[in-house]
Amino acid sequence: MKKVIMGNHALSYGAQLARTQVIAAYPITPQTEVVGFLSELCADGKLDAKFIKVESEHSAMAAAIGASAVGARTFTATSAQGLALMHEMLHWAVGARLPVVLGNINRAMGPPWTIWTDQNDSLSQRDTGLMQYYCESNQEVLDTVIQAYKVSEHEEILLPAMIVLDAFVLSHTSEVVDMPDQELVDKYLPPRKATYRVDPREPHAFGNLTAPDRYFELRYKIERSMRQAEGLIREAGEEFGRMFGRHYGMIETHRVEDAETIVVATATIAGTARTVIDELREKGEKYGLVRIRVLRPFPFDEIRQTLAGAKKVIVIDRNISFGHSGIFFQEVKSAMYNQSQRPPIFGYIAGLGGRDVTPDVIKEIIGDAAGKEQPIADINWIGLKP
């Protein structure tokens, strides 16, 4: 069955289809509809879940952690300042190895007060240990919720995941979404089986004070699970494809096979870049696209294999690490540095605070890189009003 739904409701339907058992959330623009709709589904008896209303995002994640610790499949969603307020609890969910799935609508950080999109909110949480999926369409948002639970709840993984979508460009834009059949979803994603959980019949102390002789090993285990998750995300995406007809991986490529210049982009900017690349291809210009879908774990193998043969690489960032450069630019550069084949990599900042990244903006970026042999600056601002 197909439905026309907004990106926010794609998250809600994803959580419903995954048979989420506990939802704890606090509303914030542009995330509000995600949990508003979930609370309706719970109230109407269409989703058999406990909806916990809380007074802040910090408490939302704390409640999600409690629910996940007893073995429940748990969901929450937030944005920008809300995600920042959750920060401490994100570390907790990772260290406690709890497979909570969190929807984050990419909203730029204030001040100045803003509600429009950029990626600095989710990227500020890059090093907490949550897996991060950046989605391009409402369909992908819904499908990724289901896949994320499968990967996160795997006994070898046990790590939370963040599903990221652009404010308004996806969150409030309606698209046709093919709704997966509940019976098939149940086959793909059986109920969670928690091996380690809080159970009064079998008491354990959790999160105990851990001395330096143990902490180091626990961190190693998180990193090992992250690396294992890479393979499992691929498997989960392929199995999803076999069952539902839509395949997903760590990255998505478009016309890269003989591409001389490869554009690396994320989220909805990748969709715009794809149409520009198709236009250039019609003129015989050899451009290709890599869309990074999963930032953590980082898709080292795919990025290295795909970019090695290119003459130039362009990375478009809707984010900035102040005092350094675009964050995806840094990530791609660092993945390539120790390789024998290292194309020059150009970094561009565009679309901060929700400024539109139109086909013309992408053409400007491509034109700038085409005119240069080597990248001169680490940051190239596109569309800056002088």
């Binding site: 190895r97 105990n208 851990t210 143990r214 626990l218 285990k221």
Partner: protein
């Protein structure tokens, strides 16, 4: 993962026998936290009216009811003295631990 036993501290050698998160594998009863105590509450059963308010207030659940009387379990009592403060009959005195 290491075998679970009730009363003994479980020794973990390294990464391969650890659970993924910080978690006690057995019961924590081997950890006799009473050794942390600076102050020792002592019940005077002449004054005690068996209201069990001390039992109710003990934050570490180490006042047990035995033969209808409250009895302090000094293996785990950390000496917070909440019981002595809450006792309506001042039946719990506080002594210094040496």
């Amino acid at each position: 993962m290491a075998e679970k036993t009730a009363e003994k501290k479980i020794e973990i050698k390294g990464e391969s026998d650890m659970p993924p998160m910080a978690m006690s594998l057995g019961l924590m009863s081997w950890n006799k936290t009473g050794s942390w105590r600076n102050l020792r509450p002592v019940i005077d059963y002449e004054k005690c009216i068996k209201c069990m308010i001390c039992w109710k207030f003990c934050p570490d659940a180490c006042i047990h009811i035995e033969d209808g009387k409250p009895v302090i379990d000094y293996d785990y009592c950390k000496g917070c003295i909440i019981c002595a403060v809450e006792c309506p009959k001042d039946a719990i005195s506080v002594e210094k631990e040496e």
